[in-house]
């Protein structure tokens, strides 16, 4: 299949298709696709029986469930709160707003290992919050809940940062008109505001979700890493590597990659669809 056919654009007056396609594809190929192809190649070098056994083993599946399940929930929480916080930052004034705004990127700037240590210090049974809930018999760190916490942390900036600029430039006229016409606030949120930011919100969700799936550094500090219970997929890869089993590591990595890619492609398609529908409406 030639690349030229799928990439042929619909006629447009705008220039730069060739140039931007060239830069994008070159960058994408050199930085992402060729290295990932090496990964697939290495995975393919494994014995098919071994691949099947590895991919269908109870332990791999348990880790798969945990990684994707916790990542999905974390992204969901981030989507809800991310939208709210973006709204807070764009539409409200309060003291210290700039500081809060600036601090949003912290989960990126803080090395994941530090984040893991800091979160473990907070949520461990002898930590600030872990200590509060420990008497109630609730354990956060060193359980799957710890995995979830770390994933929420690393994914937090995505939704806020994708929704924020769109919200900032959205015209408030429609909202105001709706308010004047007597629409309730909830109704305005769901019929006027939400559809407008939906593509950005979905993008943020995808990014937070994707980031959470792959997160390693911060999670291992707070997860407990007990096989079948609190063991994430990236850890399984590391365990393979420690045994010099590159092919096995590549197999699990490929599994992760395929599942993640399918999910992301699905959400992106959904995003394209919502945008289209909104555009047509």
């Amino acid at each position: 299949m030639s690349l030229a056919i799928p990439f042929k654009p619909k006629p447009s007056i705008l220039p730069g298709f060739g140039l931007s396609l060239g830069i994008t594809l070159t960058g994408l190929s050199l930085i992402v696709l060729i290295p990932l192809a090496a990964l697939l190649l290495r995975a393919a070098s494994a014995d098919p029986n071994e691949i099947l056994e590895l991919v269908t083993s109870a332990r791999t599946l348990a880790a798969l469930r945990l990684s994707f399940g916790a990542a999905f929930l974390a992204a969901l929480l981030n989507a809800v709160f991310g939208l709210m916080i973006a709204w807070l930052l764009v539409r409200h004034e309060f003291p210290g707003k700039r500081l809060v705004d600036a601090a949003i990127d912290l989960p990126f700037a803080l090395p994941t290992a530090v984040a893991g240590v800091a979160l473990a210090a907070i949520y461990a049974p002898n930590g600030w919050i872990g200590g509060l809930v420990a008497p109630l018999g609730v354990k956060i760190a060193y359980t799957p809940a710890g995995v979830f916490i770390a994933m929420v942390f690393v994914g937090m900036p995505f939704v806020i940062r994708t929704v924020q600029p769109v919200l900032a430039e959205a015209e408030t006229d429609v909202e105001e008109a709706a308010a004047l016409l007597g629409a309730s606030r909830m109704r305005i949120v769901f019929t006027v505001i939400l559809p407008g930011v939906m593509p950005a919100l979905l993008t943020g969700f995808v990014l937070a979700f994707a980031r959470a799936i792959g997160e390693y550094g911060s999670v291992i500090f707070i997860a407990g890493n007990v096989p079948m219970v609190s063991e994430i997929l990236p850890l399984l890869i590391v365990i393979r590597l420690e045994q010099f089993d590159y092919a096995g590591a590549a197999v699990i990595a490929t599994l992760m990659l395929v599942v993640a890619f399918v999910l992301i492609a699905a959400i992106n398609a959904l995003q394209g669809w919502t945008r289209h529908r909104l555009g047509d409406a």
């Binding site: 220039p15 730069g16 298709f17 060739g18 140039l19 396609l21 060239g22 830069i23 070159t26 960058g27 240590v117 473990a120 210090a121 461990a124 049974p125 002898n126 930590g127 760190a141 060193y142 291992i220 500090f221 407990g224 890493n225 007990v226 096989p227 079948m228 219970v229 850890l235 590391v238 365990i239 590597l241 420690e242 045994q243 010099f244 089993d245 096995g248």
Partner: protein
């Protein structure tokens, strides 16, 4: 369209990208070859403090003997991942790892270390040894005295994952050796013990340092199964009034070995210095530093008596005598489908 001239424009934009990448590649490649001789010692986690001291001594010693200045660079990490880095091309002049299996892996996969490396230096190429002991909270509230106490009800044991940690493999083998004797060679009971032992582990960290942190800083568990040197270090770092060391009735003689990576040092021209560096570890000066850093020296007479007095006498099995060497132990216990995989059944 006017702008549709990708050929020229593309070249103008892409060439700098590629050029930058290449420039970076070559630039640093040559910059790294500095004028003074440099040795890179690729080591495992708990030896950081030890080699900080040793390096200072060796640099002075080398200057005195040869008149040359030498710089020693350190890289620390999990023993297995450090070995993997060397296999993948990290330019180590010497490796000082947690177990012979990791150096064997480098020798086998790269040929940069001769196959008979362990015979090239005295004492199995291990200038210091250690063993596995227990670290408990002050006063030993759970009354832990030996391996059998680790599986009592309500005891939580912290130790790392043998799949990712060299130290954890020594832990596992020490527990195995004890259980083999305790249950009179009854294989079923021995295996049941191992299963129960790991069911008492609430946090399976990836490395020895991770486990130490979970236990000492996060307050997880009642007992940390750990390197002896690490246990002493914890007492020094976190306060001797917080923890006690418990020595079990039987443990394993852990021999963290060292080797020159000839395939790296040869072309770099640092072979002589690398060999001198490792030989230096056996000198009285270095042996004293080794004892001070809580490793058991091969030549205790060289060390300060109070450093030696710290080390409890206990029965130690060896990897060769008990398990038939690392190759066999690795395949039998830690490889895919080995005893650890068979026996590990987490408690839900």
């Amino acid at each position: 369209m006017r702008m549709r001239l990708p050929a020229g424009a593309l070249r103008r934009c892409l060439l700098p990208l590629v050029a930058l990448l290449l420039a970076a590649a070559f630039g640093i490649g040559s910059a790294a070859r500095a004028q003074t001789q440099q040795l890179l010692n690729v080591s495992y986690d708990p030896t950081r403090e030890l080699y900080k001291d040793i390096n200072a001594l060796f640099v002075a010693d080398w200057k005195e003997k040869t008149g040359k200045t030498i710089v020693i660079r350190q890289s620390h990490g999990g023993s297995g991942s450090q070995a993997r880095s060397v296999i993948d091309g990290l330019g180590a002049d010497v490796v000082t790892l947690a177990l012979a299996a990791d150096i064997d892996a480098i020798a086998r996969r790269t040929g940069k270390i001769p196959a008979d490396w362990q015979k090239r230096l005295p004492d199995n190429s291990a200038p210091y040894t250690s063993t596995i002991v227990f670290l408990v909270h002050k006063g030993n509230p759970k009354g832990i005295k030996d391996w059998g106490d680790l599986v009592k009800d309500g005891v939580a044991v912290v130790m790392p994952n043998p799949k990712t940690s060299g130290g954890a493999r020594w832990n596992y083998l020490a527990a195995w050796a004890w259980a083999k004797r305790a249950y009179g060679g009854d294989e079923a009971k021995l295996r049941a013990y191992i299963t129960r032992l790991y069911q008492h582990v609430p946090v399976l960290d990836t490395g020895a340092r991770g486990s130490t942190t979970s236990f000492a800083q996060r307050g997880i568990g009642d007992v940390l199964v750990s390197w002896e040197n690490e246990a002493f270090l914890v007492k020094r770092e976190f306060g001797a009034d917080k923890f006690d060391i418990v020595v079990p009735s039987l443990s394993i003689l852990a021999e963290p070995p060292v080797a020159v990576v000839e395939g790296n040092a040869g072309p770099k021209g640092t072979l002589e210095a690398a060999r001198a560096y490792l030989n230096f570890l056996y000198t009285p000066k270095a042996q004293a530093v080794i004892a001070r850093n809580f490793y058991r020296p091969r030549h205790p007479e060289a060390a300060a008596p109070e450093d030696i007095a710290r080390f409890a006498k206990l029965d130690l099995v060896t990897i060769d005598g008990e398990f038939g060497g690392w190759d066999k132990a690795q395949a039998e216990h830690f490889a895919d489908g080995g005893t650890f995989d068979q026996l590990y059944k987490p408690q839900r």
